[in-house]
């Protein structure tokens, strides 16, 4: 990391804490439209609650549509945050250090967004708490054999653990902000959040161990959560869903889409806040390599699905896949293939991996491609089941599109608030990358 040699400990504090200065006009210019879209999403939801789920585009036989697509998409986005912060931490991959905080924040906000969709999708959303096992006057318990209930446990555990991991990682940095700010309300808030952190050897001893255990827990968790989400589909007997490759296929896709979103978010932040010394080309190179790997896995899954459908000898299975590539939804299928398999191919060249503009454009295509992947899996499979008499076409309604747009705004709203309230780059870990100050050179 030769670019970082000009950095000093004090400059790291200055640069990162400066990001928390009073919001500028540009920030407000981004934030207010997000509020507007969140408001529109909320209006669509209230409209749906008032008139019932009929206002969504659900038509027989498709009763899982854009809402479940959004749910799986956002859970997927949430995955690379924990990959970068936990798995790459255990592998000691240094390129994670400057981007992991942003990725973790993205994880928490994406799970917060994802968690809304199963509730929005309910006919009576106010009864969502029936999903949790609690003693009730109806004297019944939840069905632990249902993958949908596994989802409740997996996603709520993921939200809790990723939020804790996010907060624990920030404690020393919040203490640095506490020591810097002088205005009373901010000083008090950061003092409370820093839990009285002093940076003593005693604190670091327990902190580093606890962080290691968090990473060790988060690693299997991140792999389990999207596997569980994939079993929502794979456990049911429907052509296109009932397959054993879903768990690794979904996890690879989740990491792929999440990394795409990390690039989409960090490129403008790097430019606006002048973080070129922190988020370096090496960091992007590392992420691009991971995107390359996961794109290959996803591409392989697309291919092997066809092979398995053909080799199974099941006309329903083969018919489903043939329909995906050639039927009414073929355009969406080919958008998915082009965005997720073809567009990332130039990443095999180093010059492309280190070209920020190309990476940014590519990352947007990846986001689009991965959204359509979920749409294709969910909607096309449902629209062509076993019985040709029960086939049908689903088109999203304006309410579903409004709530989807609102969910993107909801995510960006949290993200923009995060940028102005909490340190977006880890102050402590950036310092660990710098040479330690010594009076005499170490022999």
């Amino acid at each position: 990391m030769s670019e970082q040699n000009t950095l000093t400990y004090a400059r790291v504090n200055d640069d990162i804490i400066r990001m928390l200065d009073k919001p500028t006009f540009k920030w407000w210019a981004l934030f207010l439209p997000t509020l507007l879209f969140v408001g529109f999403g909320l209006f669509c939801f209230i409209y749906q609650v008032h008139y019932g789920l009929g206002v969504a585009g659900y038509r027989h036989p498709v009763f899982w549509g854009v809402y479940i697509t959004d749910f799986v998409f956002w859970v997927g986005i949430a995955h690379s945050g924990t990959l970068i912060s936990a798995i790459l931490f255990l592998f000691r991959a240094n390129f994670r250090m400057s981007i992991y905080r942003i990725a973790e924040g993205m994880t928490v906000f994406a799970v917060l967004t994802a968690g809304l969709f199963p509730i929005i999708h309910l006919g009576r959303p106010w009864n969502f708490y029936w999903l949790f096992p609690y003693p009730n006057q109806r004297e019944l318990w939840v069905n632990f054999k249902s993958p949908l209930l596994w989802d409740v446990f997996a996603v709520s555990t993921y939200l809790t653990v990723s939020a804790l991991f996010f907060f624990i990682g920030m404690i020393p940095d919040i203490a640095a902000i506490r020591d810097r700010v002088t205005e009373v309300p901010r000083k008090i808030i950061y003092s409370i959040l820093s839990l009285g952190w002093k940076g003593s050897n005693w604190e670091w001893l327990h902190y580093t161990r606890a962080y290691l255990f968090f990473a060790a827990f988060a690693t299997p968790l991140v792999l389990s959560v999207h596997s569980v989400v994939s079993w929502d589909f794979a456990m049911s007997n429907l052509p296109g869903w009932h397959t054993t490759i879903f768990a690794p296929y979904f996890v690879a896709g989740a990491i792929f889409s999440g990394l795409g979103m990390v690039i989409t978010l960090t490129v403008p932040i790097r430019k606006i806040f002048h973080l070129e010394d922190y988020i370096t080309l090496d960091n992007y190179d590392g992420m691009a390599k991971l995107i390359m790997l996961t794109s290959c896995i996803v591409g392989y899954a697309y291919g092997i699905e066809f092979f398995m459908a053909w080799y199974s000898g099941s006309p329903a299975e083969w018919g489903q896949f043939y329909y995906r590539a050639t039927g009414e939804y073929a355009l969406f299928y080919w958008i998915m293939v082009v965005c997720n398999v073809v567009i990332p191919l130039p990443l095999w060249f180093k010059s492309v991996r280190r070209n920020i503009k190309i990476l940014f454009i590519m990352s947007i295509f990846i986001n689009i491609g991965m959204w359509f992947e979920r749409f294709n899996i969910i909607v096309i499979s449902l629209s062509r089941g076993f019985d040709p008499a029960a086939w049908g076409i689903y088109t999203p309604s304006w309410v579903e599109i409004g709530i989807t747009v609102g969910s993107f705004a909801w995510f960006f709203m949290f993200f923009l608030i995060f940028l102005k309230t909490l340190p977006s780059v880890s102050i402590t870990e950036m310092k660990e990358l710098l040479p330690v100050p010594r009076k005499e050179a170490k022999t």
Partner: protein, 170 residues
Amino acid sequence: MSDKQGVLGIFTYLDVTIETVKKLRDAGFKNLRVFSPFPNHEIEEVMDEPESIVRFFTLFGAMLGAACGVGFTVLMSSDWPISVSAKPIVSLPPFMVIIFELTILMGALSTLVGLLVNSRLRRNAPRTMYDTRFSEDKFGIMITCSKEGVKDAEEILTSQGAEDIKFDSI
């Protein structure tokens, strides 16, 4: 108010800080704390603290989580025996997912408790012997000693080139 005194020396260089810790130890000061802006193995080695016991919190939490997972699924399914997909009422393979998730959840929560309890992170702000430069670019050594030891401690800190020395009663 006890008769213990705190002496805090502030340093720029890590090697000097470590050297000073060794000298203070040799001079008989046992109650030392080192402050740093980031975790460092050299400090950990020289301080030679016992291994963190957070790991036991983690282990206990994870085991409790697994037990809760087994308890929840088996007891609740038995209390409301409804046959689903021709599976037995108590069917371990689907319950494993719940057991796994609760193991992780409670393991993580107890790790948090272990961290808060053991590093005594329960206050809203640091206590008196602290310098805001520790969160930026300076290292610090805090010596807790009797009133008589203050002078000796100060001498060692000064001779080692401490940039700043602070005193307070603890």
